[in-house]
Symmetry: C2
């Protein structure tokens, strides 16, 4: 049976729905009621007749008709028996939030084996246990049991997130929401007793809403299968992966965390490279890469134009390009001549193009129009520093408008505080990736180049 009902179910049963505020089974029920989830919602709780005004069922078996998605939030000692009922009912997909399985060792391992026995031969496909489950910005599925003031939900967008660690997932969702980065689907898959990260990647491959996939993984279910399938995914869509548990000490921490074996990092690196998965070194890079890849086509070449009103930032960007094996594009003679007209005498029409501290948005606009026509340029890094007085908010409109017609990759670097942050969010909403430093912008460009190079 497919995984469609994980993301786009017609109805959902909250197994373990609770009247008590603060309980997981209460929060998730509320999420479905408050998000724009369009389908039926069935609370399941043997001790309540109704919860939050909805009729409650004693067992999932009592729900009339088919159940697309079941979300299990009962304590570990009760979880397997309600899962058994859901399997009997023929529920398409289950998300098991409950922890206390393989990750705690001892009795948990037995519980997980029992769970696997229950699923054996059934059509029900299960995500978890020991996970946060699914957030889908389009359908309104939201099993994240944390309140929105602690964990803001990102807007609709192009990036899918697949994470083994729930804590990782909740922290980055909150981070991305604050940055206004749009997310298509989010899955925290925990112990992967049934549905594997590989199957989730395959589903996302055929998902029209997803342009790039960000993965946090500690262990992999089946290395060979992962390699084979992931390689197919990356023919269409980029995957960026952050690996947790690379070395001895980190691997030990993994085994007590999600109960999986982390395996040798060397093997992982080989798999990532063969599958054309871009490996991220850290959390920032995971989403720095993903954003660039989701909003741009890959880079066709190494020649980058840099435009800024802050000379020092041009210098730092030139350094970072060199360190990343990219190049400052050499402008054609006609480009230089035209830039001479767009930039005052005391500016610098070399690359990096220094529009100088008194630049306004018009100067950016004119320069970008000149650069657009130069075939020697494979992509542009724009660095509009908003601290100088003459550069106003309309430079954001100028960049967004230009980018809509521009066919090559373009990323932005903006360093500053709250005022700059507001403008960075505006870029992000318009699918222009904004980075807080030259190094991060250049790293993102390098990912666009590497992915393009792999695919061609």
């Amino acid at each position: 049976m497919s995984l469609d009902s994980l993301f786009e179910p017609d109805n959902v049963a909250i197994i373990g729905a609770s009247r008590e505020g603060g309980k997981v089974g209460h929060s998730i029920l509320r999420n479905f009621m408050e998000e724009d989830f369009g389908g039926e919602i069935y609370p399941v709780n043997p001790e309540a007749d109704s919860i939050l005004g909805l009729r409650s069922y004693e067992s999932v078996l009592d729900i009339p008709g088919e159940v697309d998605l079941g979300v299990v939030t009962v304590p570990p000692t009760a979880a397997n028996s309600v899962i058994e009922e859901a399997v009997e009912k023929g529920v398409n997909n289950l998300i098991v939030i409950t922890s206390g399985y393989g990750e705690i060792g001892g009795e948990g391992v037995e519980r997980e084996e029992e769970l696997e026995d229950i699923l054996e031969g059934s059509d029900t496909r299960l995500v978890g246990p020991n996970c946060l489950g699914v957030y889908d910005s389009f359908s309104g599925v939201d099993t994240l049991f944390l309140p929105s003031y602690k964990l803001k939900r990102p807007p609709e967008g192009d990036i899918a997130i697949v994470t083994q660690s729930g804590a990782f997932g909740s922290a980055v969702m909150d981070l991305l929401a604050d940055m206004e980065v749009g997310i298509s689907r989010f899955v925290s898959y925990g112990n992967q007793a049934d549905v594997t990260e590989t199957e989730l990647l395959e589903w996302l491959d055929q998902d029209d809403e997803t342009e790039a996939i960000a993965v946090y993984m500690e262990g992999v279910s089946d290395g060979e299968k992962f390699l084979e399938k992931a390689r197919k995914v990356t023919e269409d869509k980029p995957i960026v992966a952050l690996k947790g548990g690379k070395y001895g000490s980190g691997r030990e921490a993994v085994s007590s965390h999600t109960g999986s074996l982390a395996g040798s990092y060397e093997v992982y690196r080989g798999v990532f490279s063969q599958a054309r998965i871009l490996e991220a070194d850290n959390i920032e890079q995971l989403f720095d890469y993903s954003r660039a890849l989701a909003y741009n086509k890959p880079l066709d070449g190494r020649n980058i134009a840099v435009v800024t009103n802050g000379g020092g930032f041009g210098v730092l960007t030139a350094d970072a390009l060199e360190e990343q094996g990219l190049k400052l594009a050499e402008y054609s003679t006609s480009t230089e001549e035209q830039l001479r007209e767009a930039v005052p005498d005391y500016g610098n029409v070399e690359n990096p193009l220094d529009l100088v501290g008194d630049a306004d948005s018009k100067r950016y606009e004119r320069s970008l129009e000149v650069l657009e026509k130069d075939p020697n340029i494979d992509g542009i890094i724009v660095i509009p520093l908003l601290q100088p007085l003459p550069l106003e908010s309309d430079v954001i409109d100028a960049i967004v408008n230009f980018n809509e017609g521009y066919t090559e990759p373009l990323v932005v670097c903006m360093t500053g505080g709250e005022y700059t942050g507001v403008h960075a969010k505006n870029l992000e909403k318009n699918e222009v990736a904004a980075y807080s430093s030259p190094k991060r912008a250049v790293d993102a460009m390098e990912a666009l180049y590497r992915y393009g190079d792999w695919r061609s």
Copy 2:
């Protein structure tokens, strides 16, 4: 003559003060009037009798008594003649904001040579030209001519900033203000026609308000002198440096930016290492290092304890420690026994210490108290993820209180959005460095170890 009047003048002359809002000479005059600058303020403008209610002077020569600090904001064609008058007047220190000197080549180079001739043999010491000048959070000196909504001013604090690039300076000041990172003194020194970066470092060495110095430099005035003096500074205080113009392409950009020769990066690396200057790879790292060094003594050893309520973050921290040559501390038997009492059965009393998703601030408090007593631990990374419901704001108080009595280095990692950001700022106000990812927290710890290792 000393540089004291740059930072703590008894009075200031704004040479080129203007009535016209938006003009540099207007903004700077306003800054001094609005900040809590305690001394006399003398506007100098031959075309006005009074500006903003203050008596205006035709020339600096007309000001009665001694002038401590002169700030020059007139156009380049008029700058050298007013500087000549200031030298004649015997002004202690001058800050020349005016650009159009060596950095533009041609006539600018001649102008800068003329400026050097004017200063020859005089006691007046000059910062600039082509700079933003000085911001001093204690004295109220503020020559940053950009409005505070575009460039917020950081609060009083321990970190000094010395930057060759004004754009770099203004962007990072705005960034740090937003993070609530405290700054003691800020100097953007531009073309260093007179006062060099080396002299500024020497002044900051004897400055009681400064605990760590962050430097952005493109070229150096005198390499040998810099090495000799900086090495002395780092015996007392850490210096973190970001070098702009490392390679061919970046170096070319430098020469059209601050007009200085960038020199070979290999030579710089050698000088940094001999002078025990910590080199930062990028803007983030410059202040990640500086904050850790300003708030902590150096690390005595490599053994780090990690405490978190998010397992995945413990895993990522363990990986980053290994990559940076640091180690997960091995707890003593008694530590493990005591942690067993502080942490529930399903938690993990290994290192990283996983307090699990239902941890509250008490669990953090009790664990930190146990770790404090273990002599095998050289420093602690605390990772309180605020997304889970049971962990409330009081974990910040718990960490700050603990840190006040703790004698070894401690840094925090918190990943998340706006809610997390508010709490990170609270830590920063209390001089606890907070980082947005495990990698950045570990990199900061590595800087504390490297600096400690150099000094011992």
